[in-house]
């Protein structure tokens, strides 16, 4: 930058000035394009191959170690239509501490894997491991085209790993982007939690997945001593999102799984006042209170001026929330990372929810006036 300043003062006019500016721009653009590593607290180095993480009992046949537990959250994260498989491994004799149902504490040595496939082709497998210092280690492994090996991806991520619709491509996010979501709330583990593993699964959830064997849920974990301290009430009455309709339940669940990791009451974005993470301990629903008829705090670039409310009941087209999730323009889109394709199913779900919300409020007014 200092060089740019000096050049500007000395060579202000004409093409020289332009070339300095362009050089600077291209340098910075090149830097941005390659998503350089940002210094992160060191916590060991990930293995250089997926095989070394211990996911498979036999890598040649890709047979997953039977000691690992396959699971599926009830409200999955949209990743451009990728098919996902997930596993957790707890060190023998250890258990998850669930005494705070909002923030489970995982034993040192816990490992998670999430495999992403498109059209039956494995593309990447992401990996989380809790290290002895308590920090989580983040890594991603890219599968070779022949599906025979999966190598560690640079901490800067990898672009263009699989073609998607509309000329877009799947990106393996860099560690910084992984942490932007995983460190955006009270727990770094997002899909393995009290609500996500409730036996009261939402059959209307967007992109709902079948539970893989052995059907890991709260009851399964507690019965086998893998989850301790969970308040008894959550077993007796498994958590479910309290909602006026099935549409609303699915809509709130979608926002919990796709937005709540950043937009919650305990993370660094709490000052925005948008709380989309469901709390299993509170009976109220902050995702309704902080969206319905609530003003957009600061319109994003590209947002239409008539979207003054986050959710305008009965008017999905004029709701800021709809405009954000219906876009993949980098300045406007939500979520802002981890996806390049609009989630059409979710757009339809939330559109319907906002329409229904308008109708129900209108009906409530009629009833009120009729008294």
């Amino acid at each position: 930058m200092a060089q740019v300043i000096a050049a500007r003062r000395l060579l202000w006019s004409g093409q020289v000035r332009c070339s300095v500016a362009v050089a600077a721009m291209l340098l910075f653009y090149g830097i941005l394009k390659s998503e350089p590593a940002v210094p992160q607290p060191a916590s060991g180095s990930p293995p250089s191959t997926l095989q070394e993480t211990g996911l498979y009992a036999d890598f040649d046949t890709l047979q997953v170690d039977s000691a690992h537990l396959a699971f599926a959250p009830q409200y999955p994260l949209w990743s451009d239509g990728a098919t996902k498989r997930r596993w957790i491994s707890l060190p023998p004799g250890t258990a998850i501490d669930g005494s705070d149902p909002e923030v489970w504490i995982f034993p040192v040595g816990t490992r998670f894997w999430k495999e992403f496939s498109f059209n039956g082709e494995r593309v990447e497998t992401r990996y989380l491991e809790r290290r002895a210092d308590g920090q989580w280690l983040y890594a991603a492994y890219a599968w070779s085209a022949d599906g025979r090996e999966a190598q560690l991806v640079s901490a800067r991520g990898k672009r263009g790993v699989y073609p998607l619709a509309g000329g877009r491509t799947h990106t393996i996010p860099g560690v910084t982007d992984c942490k932007a979501c995983h460190q955006g709330g009270p727990s770094e583990v997002l899909g393995f939690s009290t609500l996500q593993l409730s036996p009261e699964r939402d059959l209307g959830a967007s992109h709902a997945e079948l539970q893989p064997e052995p059907h890991v849920d709260l009851r399964y974990l507690v019965d086998r001593g893998l989850l301790v301290g969970l308040p008894r009430a959550l077993l007796d009455t498994p958590p479910r999102i309290a909602a006026a309709t099935a549409t609303e339940r699915a809509a709130l669940g979608y926002m919990h799984g796709n937005c709540g990791h950043c937009h919650n009451e305990r993370g660094s974005l709490q000052n925005i006042g948008l709380f989309l993470r469901h709390s299993v301990m509170n009976s109220d629903e902050p995702a309704i209170a902080s969206t319905v008829r609530q003003s957009v705090k600061k319109p994003a670039p590209g947002q239409s001026p008539d979207a003054v409310l986050r959710v305008a009941p009965g008017h999905p087209d004029r709701s800021g929330l709809m405009q954000r999730i219906s876009s993949r323009s980098p300045s406007l889109q939500m979520p802002p990372l981890g996806t390049d394709l609009i989630d059409d199913e979710a757009v339809r779900l939330l559109y319907r929810w906002i329409e229904e919300k308008g109708a129900s409020i209108q009906q409530a007014h009629i009833n009120e006036e009729g008294r």
Partner: protein, 182 residues
Amino acid sequence: MTMHRALPMMLTTALLVPSTVSSQDSAGAQVKRGEYLVSIAGCHDCHTPWTTGSAGPEPDMKRALSGHPQDVMISAPATLSPPWSGAMNPTSTGWSGPWGVSFSANLTPDPETGVLRDFTEQQFIQTMRTGRHQGQGRPILPPMPWPAYGNMTDDDLKAVFAYLRQVPPVKNKVPDPLPPKQ
């Protein structure tokens, strides 16, 4: 008030005054440090509109750090021929490149138009570390050199933030970025 009643209050006051002064000194030193860092890190290069003065082009410090002037209209990316792929406008606040057109942000604490008005100190630090708005949101466009600033220490970034919070506010609504030509 009797002396035995007044004494504790006097003592408390005597103890509190130095710490208050010390705290003010510390805050003042942090702001000075921030001013120094902003001056050497080239922030004025893009965030203060440039004008042609008596000694040639220079940042217009009356509008220091207020970003791309709202009355300087740019409606499309620059049209360039190879080998060029980028350009900037005369105020040095509008930048055209493969990403479209970016406009430098208003960093002053104007309550209506300052981009940092909703930022916490931690979000500012995270923004420099991740290159994302408020640390987790939309990507910050080139040529903002956040990868370089992301290498600054927390204390230095806190100092920059403290300085930016107290510069004179300038009301200037920076336009939205423009997409690249299709």
